[in-house]
């Protein structure tokens, strides 16, 4: 297993550390900044744009949607039990007459917040720990590598599930911390690999010989140079955090009542999905579409930020070949 991770490390390193992007020649007489270049490349990717619109739309819907609906998640409609969707309840109602739209939006809110927080925390931790391990090497570095190996054997799902009796009845924020605590390690290893090459670069050495303390070198010279990787990683992590949270909540090991997440809704209604499909299909649909959108955006960002990634490189090769042929 060590073999692969090392390979992944080196692949990541060559990926982002090599020179500046050269495609999309700037218009004559107009300087192109890197930000503009990335934006143009991202906009070229239709799926990524669709994904971005979907994600923004879902965040907006989760927080504004409930305000527009006349039903709330904690009121019941005693004239409608287990009704399929109709004009009054657009997502139908459950067996005690709660409006499914209100419930789904509430679940969506919680899942989206958890996803965003976990991604932010875990990517930040990964950047700091990975860069420090790569810069200082030594014991911290060895420990990090070993913990990542261990996590492969003991899936984080299992650990959080085992710990779930402990945070039952406590704030959902504990779950956020737990999810983040197990999501940063693999990114940290990639960051470590990139730091190893970055710290041999001239600008880092120059800063070092000018007497900058290690803390400043890491914060000012090493981490900003991995911004592309970290942005991509944070995006993808939102998706995987939502998947991890819903998976745990499905079994009752994650978000606990009275809180509701997409996972608890799906877990509660999966049993009756064949008879009352609307109870299951709406939360599940939102979950799948959200994760799909995150993956599309992540893919688009990778193509836009990292010009050496396979997809773009090959497409360019093909383009240049076609140009040469014509």
């Amino acid at each position: 297993m060590t073999v692969i991770l090392n390979e992944g490390d080196s692949a990541g390193t060559t990926g982002a550390a090599s020179g500046s992007p050269v495609d999309a020649a700037p218009e004559p007489g107009k300087a192109m900044t890197r930000g503009r270049l990335v934006l143009i490349r991202f906009m070229r990717n239709k799926l990524a744009l669709v994904g971005l619109v979907l994600i923004l739309g879902m965040y907006l819907m989760a927080f504004v949607g409930p305000l527009l609906s006349k039903w709330s998640y904690d009121t019941q409609d005693y004239t409608a039990f287990l009704e399929p969707p109709y004009s009054e309840h657009i997502f139908g109602t459950d067996k005690i007459g709660t409006d499914m739209f209100a419930l789904t939006m509430r679940g969506l809110q919680k899942s989206l917040i958890i996803g965003l927080l976990v991604a932010l925390i875990s990517t930040t931790v990964a950047a700091i720990v990975g860069a420090a391990a790569g810069y200082f090497l030594g014991v911290a570095d060895k420990a990090l590598m070993w913990v990542v190996d261990l996590l492969l054997v003991l899936p984080s799902f299992l650990i959080i599930a085992i710990l779930s009796p402990w945070f039952r009845g406590k704030s959902w924020f504990l779950l956020v911390l737990m999810l983040a605590a197990f999501q940063w390690m693999i990114t940290a290893r990639i960051v470590r690999g990139m730091t190893l090459t970055l710290k041999e670069r001239e600008f880092v050495k120059a800063a070092k010989f000018m007497g900058q303390p290690a803390r400043k070198i890491i914060a000012k010279h090493i981490v900003p140079n991995m911004a592309s990787l970290l942005i991509i990683d944070a995006t993808i992590n939102v998706g995987s955090a939502v998947l991890a949270e819903t998976g745990l909540s499905y079994f009752g090991f994650g978000v606990q009542s009275p809180d509701v997440s997409l996972g608890t809704l799906i877990g509660l209604n999966a049993e009756s999905a064949t008879t009352f499909p609307w109870l299951f299909l709406f939360p599940a649909g939102f979950l799948v579409v959200f994760v799909l959108a995150v993956n599309w955006v992540g893919d688009g960002l990778r193509d836009a930020l990292d010009p050496t990634s396979t997809r773009v490189r090959r497409k360019e090769k093909k383009d240049t070949k076609e140009k040469a042929a014509s």
Partner: protein, 325 residues
């Protein structure tokens, strides 16, 4: 070569032990079986609570409990559940149920995943490539518990339209089923299709993405052009030289894939009512039973590590550079 594999094996055994110790410690520290017992109505007498505490070794420090439990495991005794039934009684049957699901699922997943990846790499930016990409993107974004339930609904639809229960999605076999060996096999197959598909579809998507990019890297390589230049047909060059090289990174991915599979298997077993190891884990944690949880963790660790070791063997078999060193 033998030394390399032996070193990896020792490394894996240590990791499995540490993982199990960690799970045992965490479970012992967080679980409160006595609290569950005390909440019963009517509350059990103090004497029986004391007896239960002694039975579960709750009066001992956690490391000592682990040593006691591990001592039993070495002799094939995995301890008792809170309900005082020996774990070993159920273990064999549950492992059988889980392994059947895993092995068939992963075999189908790898075969079709690699095939799909190769085809979409060769036909890059053609319709079939876009279709395969969309298919795997959607599948990778669909968690197992959603996919399983959707397939269940689909199976229900098929059954309804045919009029008989062809695809059965509750349990792994019909309870009290009578018949000869062949009919038994048929019964098992009817139960097997939908859960296996649940596992396999995700695996196909997972492997096909990686196989596609690894095959694309190989397709642009010089040695493949050389192979064709020296007179091999394109098909022969692709499969004899290209695919073999493209499979090398896949061998190592296999170890990662297996962990994913075990977690996915837990959902699948719960959705379809299979009493396997994953189902046991959920029951064990819900009942706050340390022994069950530790046993399942050990099983997971052994599975993941065995697949990791198998990946090393495959890696050595596929890549001559490893064998030389």
């Amino acid at each position: 070569m033998a030394g390399f594999l032996l070193r990896r094996l020792v490394n894996y055994v240590v990791l499995a032990l540490v993982a199990t110790f960690l799970a045992f410690t965490l479970a012992s520290a967080t679980f409160d079986p006595i609290g569950v017992l005390q909440q019963r109505n009517p509350p059990p007498p103090a004497a029986s609570i004391e007896a239960k505490k002694r039975d579960l070794h709750l009066d001992q420090p956690i490391p000592q409990r682990f040593v006691t439990w591990m001592g039993g495991v070495v002799q094939g005794d995995f301890g008792r559940t809170i309900a005082d039934r020996p774990i070993t009684d159920e273990l064999g049957r549950r492992i059988g149920v889980s392994l059947r699901l895993f092995l068939i699922g992963i075999t189908i997943g790898i075969l079709f995943g690699v095939l799909l990846g190769v085809v979409s790499a060769i036909r890059q930016y053609k319709f079939s490539d876009y279709f395969a990409t969309l298919f795997s993107f959607i599948l990778l974004s669909t968690p197992v518990f959603v996919l399983g339930t959707l397939l269940k609904m689909g199976a229900q639809g098929i059954n309804d339209s045919i009029g008989t229960n062809v695809l059965i999605f509750v349990g792994e076999t019909t309870p009290g089923f009578q018949g000869n060996w062949f009919e038994h096999l048929g019964d098992r197959l009817q139960h097997l299709v939908v859960p296996t598909l649940t596992i396999a579809l995700g695996q196909i998507a997972y492997y096909s993405r990686y196989q596609r990019s690894s095959m694309l890297d190989v397709l642009g390589s010089d040695f493949l052009r050389t192979a064709q230049a020296k007179g091999l047909t394109r098909r022969k060059a692709l499969f004899k030289h290209g695919l073999r090289t493209a499979l090398i990174p896949m061998a190592t991915l296999f170890a990662f894939g297996f962990g994913l599979l075990v977690v996915g298997g837990t959902f699948t077993e719960r959705i379809f009512g299979w009493f396997g190891m994953g189902d046991w884990l959920v029951t064990g944690i819900s009942a706050q039973d340390t022994n069950i949880t530790a046993t399942v963790t050990l099983f997971v660790a052994v599975c993941v590590l065995f697949s990791g070791w198998l990946a090393d063997v495959l890696y050595a078999a596929l890549d001559p550079r490893i064998r030389v060193n």
